[in-house]
């Protein structure tokens, strides 16, 4: 990591840290499809696999911002298509609450997003990630919630 930091961060370009939570059945498979089709998106996106978007505890998102993430995106199956029938509806409601609270705390609403990506939508996955990364990059680093005590 040290070697890479000197190589890459040296050119001063801001590289956002973005955490993408993807449900195993639709969005993670959609990300795999984007890979199969070689559809490029920024490497700033790092995916965490969860069984369902409803597994994502608001705490995880707060934790990401606390640890210095610049954006968090949550991807699940389209409404009505949840592998677990209703998980994405919980997600939708929970995140509506959380994101509005984060916005109140000064986390711009462009830094958080919920997106529905099916297993067949590799192109949509890549395009969504491209767009999200660009928006987060334009906002610059997230300093609002970052907890400097967490920095080593």
């Amino acid at each position: 990591m040290q070697v890479n930091e000197s190589n890459i961060v040296a050119n001063e370009e801001f590289r956002p840290k973005i955490v993408a939570f993807c449900c195993n059945w639709c969005s993670y498979a959609g990300a795999d499809l984007a890979g199969n089709n070689r559809l490029a998106y920024p490497a700033d996106i790092k995916i965490i696999r969860v069984p369902c978007s409803c597994r994502v505890n608001p705490m995880f998102i707060l934790r990401a911002f606390q640890r210095g993430a610049d954006g968090v995106i949550l991807c699940g199956c389209h409404p009505g298509d949840c592998h677990y029938t209703s998980g994405n509806y919980y997600t939708r409601r929970r995140m509506a609450m959380l994101f509005s609270m984060l916005n109140y705390l000064g986390i711009e609403k462009e830094r958080t997003r919920v997106e529905w990506v099916s297993a067949a939508e590799g192109a949509k996955f890549a395009a969504t990630m491209q767009d999200f990364a660009e928006k987060v990059k334009a906002l610059g680093p997230n300093k609002r919630l970052e907890d400097l005590r967490c920095k080593q």
Binding site: M1, V3, N4, N7, I8, K17, V19, N24, W25, C26, Y28, A29, A31, D32, A34, G35, N36, R38, L39, A40, Y41, A43, K46, I47, I48, R49, V50, P51, C52, C54, R55, V56, N57, P58, M59, F60, R63, A64, R67, G68, A69, C77, G80, D81, C82, H83, Y84, T85, S86, G87, Y90, R94, S118, A119, A120, E121, A126, Q152
Partner: protein, 664 residues
């Protein structure tokens, strides 16, 4: 502290071309707990797996991180490897550095940097992994096939032949599906009914098969091996066990103006009818929208003429509940509605028909008894224009057509053209096409015969407009190869409409929690390697509900699905998914939040005795998860206000560790 081994796969050059695999392995060595790290050309190969097993033994590894392709691909493989090496299969984590790294990032430094972070996240997670043991559940040895077309019939017959009971649920009053409506089949031109109806009879007579016709699936619960299904059998107002299928009632019923759906509404039948002569079950059915007796209580003719006494005007819908081990979706297809394509004047002229209507017109059991006559005036048509790709391969006609190729139209149009020229050599036949696609055994030869032996005019180009004028259809089209406009006065225009999944497929997919693509075709577990299984365990796919298919392909897929079902039903028990929710009884306060969000009803409450610090005991109500029912979605873990609920394999601290590693 875990002793972790990291194994970085090159995947040939798939990963190694954009990720410095050696650097990833070296970087992993610096992580706490990593005692061994290496890279190899193909980790999934026998040699690669042996390397893992040897490393586990040599370095006494307790956790493995494999940096390779998607876990959807090889997680199961490496879990088996771990088990062979003597450690718990759930002590393995995969860092997806192929699909989500090397394949989407172009340059080496970026790819390598991201791969290292993904590896670190997986290492952080595996530190917190705990050994898990899957529970076992029994398998109900009965299968359900949804859809009674050729796909469903074939699947059911094959499952039944292996000795397992199987139910077919069909929404129409008879099984047979689309194939029953066809006239001849390409490329051999044998008649569809002659090859289908014996299979229908086989299905009816097979003691392992129960046909539940005129019914639909209403509710699906449970999981692989243990589905519980509620089926609504609609009232047909005829007692199925008593009716002999003599057909007397269908001749005497005074209500004669009921559009005949089997003949695509090109003629009428009575309010009590048998869909077609070879229907299975051969039982009459009353259409309650037209029957005078059911509508206003005045008639009762059918009950009077029925010698068997089968008519029952008071019959009600019946709910059948049954347990199944496996479910096969075989819901088939429909041609799209061509009414929206104004240029072809389908709604303006009766003489513009779809290919399926054409099948009925040439079918000996159809509305014209097999004579090819114009629907408008009953005259024999002398010039017929076939238009291919109506709504297929049409990215621009959103809302009307489909982007995909419907696959079967080229061949059936060649068949129609050939049959017309064979029966009526005085008829001129034109076929307009974008491309003629004839892959398949003896398919191209068949098409060549239509052109060369039967003299069908194949013209590359699309029809621009069809205008009904003085009893003729003026067809304006372009001939792209000759670069000219054509004007043809046609008597009949036949549209090869695109095919789409049946409308019942989407609600069914929701009930089955099976995934679908954007066109409402069921998706496979793997497009190449698991083409007849849905990603949802225990759900299998048969026929055109998975994608456009001709009859030979449908039958082979149907048999393949049956083989998979038989494989499942032959097991006595199934290993479950151990990644299920678990509640920490000491933290649970019995508030019911988790049970309220659980879609499976997997959470119940038990009264449990706890020892208090002052040595007294106290009984508290705590949540208890049934691991056989829990599917591991994790909804409850977020709903729990006290943080007592956690999900094995995706524990709160595991996901947080991944977040930390990524954000470091």
């Amino acid at each position: 502290m875990q002793r972790i081994g990291v194994f970085v796969c090159w995947c040939g050059s798939n990963i190694a071309a954009t990720v410095d695999v050696h650097a990833v392995a070296e970087a992993a060595k610096l992580e706490p707990g990593v005692v061994f790290s290496t890279d190899y050309q193909y980790m999934c190969s026998q040699a690669g797996q042996n390397m893992i097993i040897d490393a586990v033994k040599e370095h006494k590894l307790t956790g493995l991180v494999i940096c390779s392709c998607s876990p959807r691909m090889h997680e199961a493989t490496f879990r088996k490897t771990a088990a062979n090496a003597g450690i718990n299969p759930y002590m393995v984590e995969i860092a997806n550095i192929r699909e989500q790294c090397s394949w989407v990032h172009k340059d080496m430094p970026t790819g390598t940097e991201k791969a290292i972070i993904l590896a670190k996240a997986a290492i952080a997670k595996v530190h917190l992994n705990t050994p898990l043991t899957p529970g076992e559940s029994k398998v109900t040895k009965r299968a359900l096939v949804i859809g009674g077309g050729i796909a469903g019939i074939q699947t059911a017959l094959d499952i039944a032949d292996a000795g397992y009971p199987v139910d077919i649920v069909e929404k129409e009053p008879t099984i047979g599906g689309k194939m029953a409506q066809l006239d001849k089949t390409f490329p051999t031109l044998d008649c569809a009914a002659c090859i289908l109806t014996p299979k229908m009879v086989d299905a009816a007579q097979n003691e392992n098969i129960r046909i539940i016709s005129y019914a639909k699936v209403e509710e699906v619960g449970g999981f692989v091996g243990n589905f519980h299904v509620k089926i609504r059998k609609k009232a047909r107002f005829v007692n199925e066990d008593v009716c002999t299928g003599c057909g007397l009632c269908t001749e005497k019923c005074p209500q004669k103006k009921v559009p005949n759906a089997f003949n695509l509404n090109m003629d009428n039948h009575r309010a009590i009818y048998i869909p077609f002569a070879q229907a299975v079950p051969k039982v009459a059915v009353i259409d309650p929208d037209y029957c005078n007796m059911l509508k206003n209580g005045k008639c009762g003719v059918c009950a009077k003429v029925c010698t068997a006494g089968a008519i029952d005007y008071k019959q009600e819908d019946q709910i059948i509940e049954e347990d199944y081990g496996a479910i096969v979706a075989a819901t088939g297809y429909n041609p799209i509605s061509v009414e929206k394509f104004d240029e072809f004047a389908y709604s303006q002229s009766k003489d513009v028909i779809t290919s399926l209507e054409f099948e009925r017109l040439t079918n000996a059991a159809g509305p014209t008894a097999g004579k090819l006559l114009r629907p408008s005036d009953g005259e024999h048509p002398h010039t017929i224009v076939f238009v291919q790709c109506v709504g297929s391969r049409c990215a621009s006609c959103a809302g009307k057509g489909k982007e995909y190729c419907s696959k079967i139209c080229c061949m059936y149009t060649a068949k129609h053209a050939m049959l017309v020229r064979d029966k009526y050599p005085d008829t001129e036949v034109y076929v307009f096409y974008i491309d003629v696609r004839t892959p398949g055994k003896n398919f191209d030869e068949f098409y060549r015969r239509a052109v060369e032996e039967y003299g069908v005019h194949y013209i590359k180009g699309m029809v621009g407009k069809v205008t009904p004028e003085n009893g003729k259809l003026k067809v304006q089209a372009s001939d792209l190869l000759a670069d000219r406009q054509l004007h043809i006065d046609a008597d009949l225009v036949v549209l090869a409409a695109a095919i789409e999944p049946d409308k019942s497929a989407r609600p069914l997919a929701t009930m089955l929690t099976a995934s679908m693509d954007t066109n409402d075709f069921f998706t496979e577990a793997h497009p190449k390697l698991r083409p007849v299984e849905s990603p949802t365990a225990g759900i299998f796919l048969s026929g055109a509900c998975q994608g456009p298919k001709d009859i030979p392909e449908t039958v082979s897929q149907a048999s393949a699905a049956a083989a998979k079902v038989i494989g499942l039903l032959s097991k006595n028990t199934l290993k479950g998914n151990p990644c299920v929710a678990q509640s920490d009884e000491l933290m649970c306060n019995g508030c019911s939040s988790c049970a309220n969000v659980c879609p499976y009803g997997a959470i119940t409450y038990v009264n449990k005795e706890f020892r208090m610090p002052d040595r007294t005991t106290k009984v508290r109500r705590v949540a208890s998860v049934n691991p056989a029912v829990c599917q591991g979605c994790g909804a409850c873990t977020v709903a729990c206000p006290s943080g007592a609920m956690d999900l094995n394999g995706f524990k709160n601290n595991q996901i947080m560790a991944e977040v930390d590693a990524i954000c470091k």
